[in-house]
């Protein structure tokens, strides 16, 4: 059985309680001092300053103890009972007091309490330093947390931003050890978001993005992470191996987003497109994002408000497009894109009055490529302006040469102008430079634009159209009848020529509707003083009908295929078909 003196228990237990791990440890130590000696009251009094810590005494009785401190009273009457006090001096006049009802302290207890006082003094000093240090660490931690939040949270939607998303995705992918831990990703892109910004302003656009972020955050749970990637793109990462679960989720999100929302007092209803992809072993974050992005892009091209799952062919197609884009850039640098010329014939005289300059790509491996083989990619890559400029320049120089070959020959030149070129701020400068350099006359140049580009981007194109008119360059409306067919812009802009689309010409004599449409276009143009070219003339019947309807000019395989410059020169410029000395009203 234990024979150790009680005082040793006390010493051992209280000294064992000392710790510098926490600034609040002093409170525990003081509590343990009281518990170890069965005392009711323990306090530390500062001189001056009063109580730093007090256990067991309420506010009402503290002044009595403070008063007793001045004289170090050994006993205090408190609530009708005697409180035995032991005062253990600390540095600078401070004191620790321990009070116990009923029994006074033994000599051993007094000796130990005095020794404890010294320990508490040292503890207080160390803990004060520790507290200051921990306060500094805490402030630094808070600053770091704030900085991390600011750098990882999207300020507009309060969702994780791209940086956080990529880090999170990398971490989740690293945790995937096999098919059991697969991850799914939904790439959400808002349809026509640019339209919101353009029509309602960016503040409404921002409010709409906030609303979308809020709506998507409701899909967040333990298995689903939601983030804003950029602009109008949002990402959901889902812990699942089940593609059906992902497509069900995509459907729910599409349904949820495609509702009328009141944003800034306006009712907006816009859909979204979603690409769905499942991670495969070895996928990096960008791989998975790219797959879902490709799926989204693929379905968006088919129309808004839909989702698609990633298929490997999408990646192949994207790679092919990327390769093609690189090749087109190279082709433009190495003069592989050249002009071909198709003659335009007078319906009245049957002679050549001009040419349409057409782009062809003399591909080193694939041979001669038509525009439909590369124009779409060139447009996406933003290369159409360079392409248009090259054809314009090449054709202008070529036709100027021909004028030298045939004195008095003043052929017109039609060149396709893309919507991008029509809006290009340097179009006028580029056309003027080309005309000046080649010596080709502005009045003989027709720039062919589609109805769509003319009507849809009219405001942006207005400046160029006005200045083209001032230069004497005319506009030809290509594929007339297939788009808006608006009479208003025929009067509004310097339209000198309408080109009847080949789809109507091909039905002449066989389809009554086509006969009526072509007849109407020719009559209308005549009444507005605009000349008409019929494209795609391939048969003699079509030529006869068009001539009978009063069409001004004809273009098509019947009259001449597109040929390169030397061949065109040989066949048309140096031949008898050339109609010389055309009157100014002819073309």
């Amino acid at each position: 059985m234990n024979t150790a003196p009680w005082s040793l228990h006390v010493l051992s237990e209280v000294l064992g309680a000392f710790t510098f791990k926490s600034p609040t440890a002093l409170r525990d130590v003081v509590s343990r001092v009281a518990e170890a000696v069965d005392a009711e009251i323990t306090a530390i009094l500062r001189h001056p300053g009063g109580f730093e810590l007090c256990v067991g005494l309420d506010d009402q009785h503290k002044p009595m103890l403070a008063a007793a401190a001045a004289e170090r009273l050994p006993v205090l009457s408190l609530g009708g009972a005697l409180l035995h006090l032991y005062w253990s001096p600390l540095d600078g006049g401070d004191v620790m007091v321990v009070g116990r009802f009923r029994e006074d302290y033994t000599l051993e207890e007094r000796a130990l309490l005095r020794a404890m006082g010294r320990s508490i003094q040292l503890s207080t000093q160390v803990l004060a330093a520790l507290k200051a240090e921990q306060e500094a660490v805490r402030a630094e931690k808070e600053a770091k947390v704030l900085a991390i939040r600011e750098s990882t949270i999207d300020a507009l939607t309060s969702l994780p931003n791209r940086r956080y998303l990529l880090a999170h995705l990398a971490e989740r992918l690293a945790q995937c050890s096999g098919w059991r831990d697969q991850l799914g990703l939904l790439f959400i892109d808002l349809d026509r978001f640019k339209h919101i910004n353009d029509v309602y302003g960016h503040s409404t656009g921002d409010a709409y993005l906030q609303a979308v972020g809020e709506a998507l955050s409701h899909f967040r749970d333990n298995d689903t992470f939601v983030a804003r990637l950029a602009g109008d793109e949002f990402i959901l990462i889902v812990a699942t191996t089940d593609l059906k679960l992902l497509t069900d989720l995509a459907e729910r999100i599409l349904k949820h987003l495609d509702q009328p929302w009141v944003i800034g007092g306006r009712v907006l209803q816009y859909s979204a497109s979603i690409g769905v992809a499942l991670a495969e072993p070895g996928d990096r974050p960008q791989d998975l994002l790219d797959k879902a992005d490709l799926a989204m892009y693929s379905i968006k091209q088919q129309g808004p408000g839909r989702y698609a799952c990633f298929e490997p062919y999408m990646l192949d197609r994207a790679r092919r497009k990327a390769d093609l884009e690189t090749e087109i850039r190279s082709a433009l640098r190495h003069d592989e894109v050249i002009s071909f010329f198709q003659p335009i014939i007078s319906a009245v005289h049957g002679g050549v009055v001009g040419f349409e300059g057409l782009a062809r790509w003399r591909h080193p491996g694939r041979g001669l490529l038509a525009p439909e083989d590369f124009l779409e990619v060139a447009e996406e890559a933003g290369l159409l302006r360079d392409l248009d400029a090259r054809i314009l320049r090449d054709a202008c120089f070529r036709l100027t040469d021909w004028q030298c070959v045939q004195q008095g020959f003043s052929p017109r030149l039609s060149i396709n102008l893309s919507a991008a070129s029509l809006q290009d701020p340097v179009l006028i400068e580029r056309v003027a430079d080309t005309l000046a350099a080649s010596g080709f006359e502005a009045r003989n140049l027709l720039l062919e634009v589609t109805e769509t580009s003319l009507v849809k981007d009219v405001e942006r194109a207005q400046h160029n159209i006005v200045n083209l008119k001032k230069m004497g360059v005319k506009l030809a409306v290509d594929d007339f009848g297939t788009g808006y067919s608006s009479l208003r812009y025929l009067r509004q802009f310097p339209v000198g020529m309408l080109k009847i689309d080949r789809s109507f010409v091909s039905g002449l004599g066989q389809n009554h509707d086509d006969d009526v449409i072509v007849s109407t276009i020719i009559s209308m143009a005549a009444s507005l003083g605009i000349q008409v070219v019929a494209e795609g003339v391939e048969t003699a019947d079509q030529r006869t009908i068009l001539c009978g309807l009063g069409c001004d000019f004809l273009q098509g395989y019947l009259l001449g295929k597109p040929l390169d410059g030397p061949m065109s020169e040989r066949l048309f410029v140096r031949s008898d078909q050339l109609l010389l000395q055309l009157g100014k009203d002819d073309f």
Binding site: M1, N2, A4, W6, H9, S12, E13, V14, L15, G16, A17, D28, S31, R32, A34, E35, V37, D38, A39, E40, I41, T42, V55, G56, L57, D58, H61, L78, G79, G80, A81, G99, R100, F101, R102
Partner: protein, 400 residues
Amino acid sequence: MTISEPVPDAVASAGDRWIEVGSSTNPEAELAVREAMAPIVERADAKLTIIFCSPAYNLAEISRLVQASIGSGEVIGCSTAGELLRNNPMTGGLLIWALGGDGFAVTTGVGLGDPATGLRDAAQTAAQCLKRLERKEHTLLFLLADGLCGDQMEVVRGAYDVSGAGVPLMGGCAGDDMALQATQQIHRGELLTHAVVAAAITSNAPMAIGIAHGWEPLSEAMLVTGSRGTTLESLDDRPALDVYFDVYEAPAEVRNDPAAFFDFAHTRPVGIARRNRIEIRYVYAADYERRNLTIFAEVPQGAMAYLMHGNSDSVLHATSEVCALAEQALGGQPARGFMLLECVARKSLLSNAGLLEESLRLPTLGPDATVGGFYTYGEIARTEGSGGLHNQTVVALAIA
């Protein structure tokens, strides 16, 4: 051991105070509340109603029904590891303990903690109800705490921070029928966890607390050389679990099987040497890898500790006598009622010996004294010193 409040100068009027206890084992919450509340709703002026309820019930529903039937009176309570009446230990039942009359005044409070930071601040917050109490001659702070939320000693320290030496503390830690998953506390109809609820009770008649456990040291005193929170790491610089097995000569299954250890440890607590007594700590789990013991409350590093052994006779005696011990401290006034809080581990010991019911016969008490309480995960009783957390102990509150 008994500790009493100072003896009053004059016997208070007996007619202005009452204490009632009701109980039910009806599985239907509404019927159980109606049955248990029957003796209480007859009284019009309940000041404090305490619910001791098995987690087998929907405590939210029980709480709502009791609050509705009591009206404006204060209602607190907790989940239990069994309920106890005189002569009748229950499991899976509902017990309502209430006091009322103009001789009492009550305020209540609640504080929320969490397992990471413990319950000291929660107990401090709950104990603030003392400051709103218009005190009569005798005042006591009653506490019900989450029994599975950190070191239970922190509850006593937090409450003592507010109550000071002048107010005795009494109470218990909520249980969950030994599932050891989560306990619940009730305050004014609200169901809480990781909480401390407190009732400051003041009376014009004495209230006294009795404490007994009946455990005896089996080992020599040992120095607690390693202890962290509720983990006892080493005794005399040896792994605590190894010392424990050696002293108790633990059989092989206990040395390998956590469930066998759990049953074994019910009746083999740790004792902490205090100046004139030994405080008991309940061992409820072992870490076979780190060779640690897990205890409901801290065993302070540096303390002298014993491994205790259960003597069913002494344990039985402690239970049957504790109410009488508390009553003796009332200064000659008869007790109107008792609150009895007993450690659930003692229930196991007495159940094994077939003595549980016998322990609650309380033969020294008069037939009119009401008795009610619950089986706890820790007992609180402080009347002297500043400690007062007990395990595997029985504490009784006697109210005149």
